[in-house]
Amino acid sequence: MTKAQHFTAVLRLGDDALVLGQRLSAWCGHGPILEEDIALSNIALDLIGQARNFFTLAGTLENEGRDEDALAYFRSDREFQNHLLVEQPNGHFGDTVVRQMFFSAFALDRYMFLAHQTVNSDVAGIAAKAVKELHYHWEHAAQWVIRLGDGTPESQHKVQDSVDHLWAFTGEFFVPDDVDTACTEAGLMPDLRELESSWHEKVAACLKRATLRVPEKGWTHQGGKQGMHSEHLSYMLAEMQVLPRTYPDAKW
């Protein structure tokens, strides 16, 4: 594992958290009920907090003077290395909770490994906290998927569509690239291929309880980790970054 790979691995953790956190924060003020508005905003806050910690750490590892703001606001779409799933639009509430359920199941297992590895104790500390938060995120999303799937014919139909559409973005979680492989060999990151069966088991159990059909494993979108994104990310970043890019020295 080179220094650059170490940096990239930590940066990617931050990118997943930031992009999904930013997506969810768009629900603030638009939740279907007050409790949901609060819940989604709280989850967004957890994720953005995780992103801040990972970016600060990544900046230290890189040692070129980039802080959390530089990494969040002054990188272009091609420099972001999040998974494609997290940048997908919020859609309707069902789309949002399915996306959250798919991601949380993966992130929880990944954080559990990270919390126990001994290669980087800062990563372990951030992950140990994130594990606790992710338990809540997973539980919240899974319960909504069950409620909507096992709900009315309309809610079931809609959320099944969400599952079928977003499913093709989940395979990317388990396809390692050179950075992943090097970090796995170094003991910093889990072997992604080994996370797949546990993810599938958890997600399938949730979908079955929700009386939803579990899609077949098949072709998957890929490229997020290499900076090849869907067009949605660019629009999201444009909105997220406009203020600091227009007024780079702006302070609250």
Partner: protein, 164 residues
Amino acid sequence: MVTDQERIAQAWVQVRSVNDPELPYLTVEEMGMVRGVRVDQGQLVVTITPTYSGCPATDVIAEDITTAVQALETDARVEVVLSPAWTTDWLLPSAHEKMKANGIAPPEGKSADRAFLTGQGKVVPCPLCKSRQTTMVSAFGSTACKAHFKCNDCLEPFEHFKCI
């Protein structure tokens, strides 16, 4: 000449005067956020551990502690330590009592117990009427650290400080 021990003791007095901005009846020490005070190469350093990753109060708390200790020594600083991660197990017993007195149900049991998530086998008594007939409305509340409950007996809503 003031010894390091005396400097640390005085700094603790200052640190203990800082309250949590979200739970103003609790000090940051009672919250279990202050991990230590030490002298590092002549400089006074207070280490704190944030409660939640995204808790907006963390920055305010760090600033408040910095202001409090800089009243003693202008070059004192606050260091944020993320590992080991903060847990509600670190709350001082007085924090539990003060929460109850302010209408917030404190964390029940140890953070290793995850039963609260599913709501099964976990009773959070109402801090107002002490009834054990309560229901979780939402696992998320007005701040990152709290969940939203209601009491089925006195019908009052109340907040529960999540056990994590």
